[in-house]
């Protein structure tokens, strides 16, 4: 244990995802030794991100305005929605340049064991977007692991009465991994070869 403020910093850093107590300590001492200007830039960046960035009121992606860049873009196809778990998945898919429709960010995957059920995700918002009938295809691009697959199963069944084309990214995406780690070529191919979901 260190004195008050240093320990505070270590504790705060330790609450970040993927940062264990050892790493927290290492980062804290790096910051202590760093040039004050560097630290000021970091604090500014942190403040700015909380002040300026919010979540798109339509799709749930990160946005610097009421709506995100993609939802505001009139050239995007309004008939297709690609459903992903996290904003970082939008970034991964955008890099493939395969997809010209819009997104819907769920904010995670159904995980009963972690206490996350359908009501804890942005599923109601998705259903609202589908209500007017403009969207004709739903691409389910949740992670190719068990929770992502279960979430896709749930959604496919939920929208079934709406008569949409529901597709799931093709295999080629290795099962068990996280979407964010897929390379652009693999992810692009998975998009091209997406399969029809029928539940």
């Amino acid at each position: 244990m260190y004195e008050g403020v240093v320990q505070n910093l270590i504790d705060e850093l330790g609450r970040l995802p993927g940062v264990g107590p050892k790493s927290a300590q290492r980062i804290a001492f790096h910051l202590l030794a760093a040039d004050p200007a560097d630290v000021t830039r970091l604090t500014e960046a942190l403040r700015e991100v909380k002040d300026k960035v919010r979540f798109c009121s339509v799709c749930g992606n990160v946005a610097e305005a009421e709506q995100c860049r993609i939802c505001r873009d009139a050239r995007r196809d309004t008939h297709v929605i690609c459903v992903v778990e996290e904003p970082k998945d939008v970034v991964a898919i955008e890099k493939t340049r395969e997809f010209r429709g819009r997104y819907h960010v769920l904010g995670g995957a159904i995980s009963p064991i972690e206490g996350v059920g359908p009501d804890d995700l942005r599923i109601r918002e998705l259903m609202q977007r589908l209500a007017d009938g403009e969207v004709t295809e739903l691409i389910l691009a949740t992670d190719p692991n068990l929770e992502g697959e279960a979430t896709a199963t749930y959604l496919a069944r939920l929208v079934k009465p709406m008569g949409l084309t529901v597709t799931r990214l093709a295999s080629g995406l290795p099962v068990g991994g996280d979407l964010e780690y897929a390379d652009e070529v693999t992810l692009g191919r998975a998009f091209e070869g997406r399969r029809l979901l029928d539940v």
Partner: protein, 297 residues
């Protein structure tokens, strides 16, 4: 510090650092083990889907002071792959895994019976012949039985009288008119009959039960289980009941497809799993009073 080999069912995975996971496994010989799987979240990981929840795997682990390290994993049966396309079955399976973890609080304490019960329960879920919620309730009741907490259903839990009409969780099950504490539930006779059938593995009787009795049975079993666990089962409220029209009673034809060869020690496996099929009542009765500590092979 040494290598060891075991088989087990993956109960849960948690992210660790950038690309690793902590995998919680209920093993045949070593009870519940938490181990690290390095690089597993990378799409090119050699583990692939083998360490996803529900998978029955053959493992090689490297024993370390803190967290053991998984060095090899081979799939024996990929239960999750089939459960995941059927939401009610998937959620029932999830509640099973969470309960198995809560029922094995001490790491590396052998829990062979619980392991066999989970395997049997998952297999029954995958086979699709029974309402998944019935399978889950059967698993709960049998888990309680092997932990020594089987509810008394055919006689008063307090005095042994053969006429129990009320269900009192704290008393240990059904109680007679004179032992009945205030506030105990009064389940329908058919509901108690269903609980007995599930505990014994009398599926013919369980399958013919009515929806309202299944509902009442689930409520009592869940309350009884959570009282004994002293913890809630978080996934329980997300377990979805199958719509009556979905219940077909016929085994699904995809069963067994893509499933690899039989795991080791099949005999034992079949025996415990049979409790979910048809098995004599004395088997269930023989569980009474047994604790998880008796599970050493």
């Amino acid at each position: 510090m040494s290598l060891y080999r075991d088989e087990g069912v993956v109960l849960r995975t948690q992210k660790l650092g950038e690309a690793d996971r902590i995998v919680t496994i209920l093993t045949r010989r070593s009870g519940r083990v938490r181990a690290a799987a390095k690089g597993i979240r990378k799409t090119k990981s050699r583990f692939g889907a083998r360490l996803e929840p529900f998978t029955h795997v053959d493992l090689q682990l490297y024993e370390r002071r803190s967290l053991d390290l998984i060095t090899q994993a081979e799939t024996l049966r990929p239960y999750g792959e089939r459960l995941v396309f059927d939401y009610p079955r998937y959620t029932a399976g999830t509640a099973m895994l969470e309960t198995a973890e809560k029922l094995t609080p001490i790491e590396k304490e052998p829990a062979l019976r619980q392991f066999l019960l989970v395997i049997g329960g998952l297999r029954t879920l995958v086979e699709g012949g029974h309402d998944p919620r019935l399978v889950l309730d059967a698993y709960f009741l049998r888990s309680l039985a092997i932990a020594g907490y089987a509810p008394s259903l055919e006689e008063c839990a307090r005095c042994g009288e053969r006429t129990g009409r009320a269900f009192a969780i704290a008393a240990g099950g059904m109680v007679c008119g004179s032992c009945r504490p205030p506030g105990s539930a009064s389940p329908a006779e058919a509901t108690v009959g269903l609980m007995i059938a599930l505990l014994r593995g009398d599926w013919a009787r369980a399958d013919s039960s009515e929806p309202r009795h299944r509902l009442e049975c689930s409520g009592l079993v869940a309350a009884y289980l959570q009282w004994h666990l002293e913890h809630g089962i978080r996934s329980l409220k997300h377990v979805e009941r199958e719509a009556p029209s979905e219940r077909s009673g016929r085994p699904r034809d995809e069963v067994g497809r893509g499933v690899s060869e039989e795991p080791s020690a099949t005999v034992e496996f079949e025996r415990e799993a049979a409790g979910f099929g048809r098995e004599a009542p004395e088997r269930a009765a023989s569980f009474h009073g047994m604790t998880l500590n008796n599970d050493h092979e």
